[in-house]
């Protein structure tokens, strides 16, 4: 079983729709959860990070973590064409000396005007 699983998509939705992006993980040591946005041939851009179960909101973006189910989500409200990108979930454990981000494969999202 992969440490982090993410549906690669592609996912196409009309402008204004709510988008739901998801990742599951198997390693209970993962305690910090991040979402990155990556435009084509660019570096990952940090969108949000959280470390507690529940929801964290930032503008049109909401990150949700359910540690009991090992499941995280990113919701995008009122989606815009500029949101078209690949979205990467990433996780990091609290184990001493562990500093690496473990990424999902990314979900390619297209918002149709």
């Amino acid at each position: 079983q992969k440490e982090v699983e993410q549906d690669p998509g592609p996912l196409s939705v009309p402008e204004g729709a709510i988008v739901s992006l998801n990742c599951t993980y198997s390693n209970s040591a993962f305690q910090y959860f991040m979402w990155y946005r990556q435009y084509s041939r660019k570096g990952p851009e940090l969108l949000m990070y959280t470390y507690s179960s529940g929801n964290k909101e930032d503008g049109r973006f909401t990150a949700q973590v359910d540690k009991s189910s090992k499941y995280i989500s990113l919701f995008i409200r009122d989606s815009q064409p500029s949101d078209s990108a690949t979205y990467l979930c990433a996780m990091i454990s609290t184990n001493f000396g562990n500093e690496k981000l473990t990424f999902g494969t990314g979900t390619r999202l297209t918002i149709i005007p």
């Binding site: 910090y32 570096g43 851009e45 940090l46 562990n98 500093e99 690496k100 981000l101 473990t102």
Partner: protein
């Protein structure tokens, strides 16, 4: 807004040649990282660096790879003898000491092509 910068943006090299990829992390950051992304695959951790030494490295980061902070601003990744399978996008990242490892900010990447 401060950002991580990387040079060159593209590098083409012959198999067996040495390459040095350069990064300028965000100025008040103390933790530095290299990741790579082979085309169509996920971003993979290579190495983390703090206080002038490697703090963690992956299985990918073998003896062909090395990192250095030659001065107060640059952070470099050297590949001594490149292989075809080293062709990838290489990303540098940095994070603040007090914010922690969970807030890693990435540069735009160097696209390395080994022929």
């Amino acid at each position: 807004e401060p950002e991580v910068t990387q040079t060159p943006s593209h590098q083409v090299t012959q198999m067996g040649q040495e390459v040095i990829l350069r990064c300028v992390p965000i100025s008040n950051h103390l933790y530095f990282y290299w990741y790579r992304q082979i085309l169509g695959q996920k971003v993979e951790f290579l190495v983390s660096f703090y206080n002038n030494e490697i703090s963690e490295k992956s299985e990918i980061f073998d003896d062909q790879f090395s990192v250095e902070r030659p001065d107060g601003s640059n952070f470099t990744l050297k590949i001594r003898s490149t292989k075809l399978e080293d062709s990838a996008m290489y990303f540098c990242a940095s994070s603040e000491a007090d914010m922690g490892k969970e807030t890693q900010y990435f540069g735009p990447g160097t696209r390395l092509l080994v022929l």
